[in-house]
């Protein structure tokens, strides 16, 4: 497969996530769109790692180049899991205080 197809797919998913963050008002859905953007970046990293492997393995069949990209995806998933746990705790705390998850009610930092 050409690499441009994977780049185009990741860019489209990322832009859908950006539109979601910009247009929706529900804090949980905004959070889900951030997860969507993270996944688009992950897909792009895996595609680039396989592209790097394809260009190198033509000369050297027993190469292991491209492993770093997939490990970076693994670390991104680790960070995303930690981020989700803290972020959802913040959203629950916010719901307990102002009884809503609409971010329009968060325009004042006090009261």
């Amino acid at each position: 497969m050409p690499i441009q197809y994977y780049i185009a797919l990741s860019v489209m998913l990322f832009c859908i996530g950006v539109v979601g963050v910009l247009t929706r008002r529900n804090a949980i859905i905004i959070f889900m769109c951030i997860e969507l953007m993270l996944n688009a970046a992950n897909l792009l990293l895996v595609a680039f790692s396989k592209m790097h492997y394809a260009t190198t393995s033509a000369a050297n069949a027993a190469t292991s180049v491209g492993t770093d990209g997939q490990l970076f995806v693994f670390f991104i998933m680790v960070v995303a899991a930690a981020e989700v746990s803290v972020g959802l705790a913040i959203i629950v705390m916010m719901y307990r205080n102002i009884h809503s998850v609409d971010i329009n009610f968060l325009n004042r930092l006090k009261n």
Partner: protein, 167 residues
């Protein structure tokens, strides 16, 4: 057109459609379910790229753990009804225009990049995504970031408990 191409186009169309449905569904529970479908299709792309370790980690961590956490939070807060009271059409239009401009810009940059013109991706074959190779590199070359990520998990756990408890 081989099986790989057909699977690629099918998975791409399904993931783009369900990503759009995450945006347009009014009910947050439906959004979560569509997002689970997006994660499943991205896992399908991983298995198409022969990244088997990331396939199973994506299924377990994202579609399993994180999405269940989202569903729990939505149901605990009793949000499974159609909220979002105000309908500001200009805000949605502005968001769509800025997202579309970003898409146009990125696509045109990728199309004009000459060093990406004839590059291909190895699908189906290639064993760098197997757990054997990844584990060897992870526990030799990347062992310090691995241990640091365990500290990150511990601090995230402490932070979630400290934020979430009633005072």
């Amino acid at each position: 057109m081989g099986t790989t191409q057909i699977l690629f186009w099918l998975l791409s169309a399904l993931s783009l459609f369900s990503a759009m449905m995450v945006l347009v569904s009014k009910n947050p529970v439906h959004s979560v379910l569509w997002l689970i479908l997006v994660f499943f299709t991205i896992s399908g792309h991983y298995i198409l790229l022969n990244a088997q370790f990331l396939f199973i980690v994506n299924l377990i961590v994202y579609a399993g753990a994180i999405m269940v956490l989202f569903l729990f939070v939505i149901m605990l807060m009793n949000l499974n009804k159609e909220t979002e009271p105000q309908k500001n059409i200009w805000l949605k239009l502005a968001g769509a225009i800025s997202g579309g401009t970003l898409l146009l810009l990125l696509i045109s940059v990728v199309r004009s990049a000459t060093e990406l013109q004839s590059k291909t991706v190895t699908t189906v074959t290639g064993d760098i995504g197997l757990i054997n190779n990844l584990g060897k590199v992870l526990f030799s070359q990347y062992v310090v970031p691995f241990e640091i990520s365990s500290v990150l998990f511990l601090s995230a756990m402490v932070g979630a408990v400290a934020i979430g408890k009633k005072n």
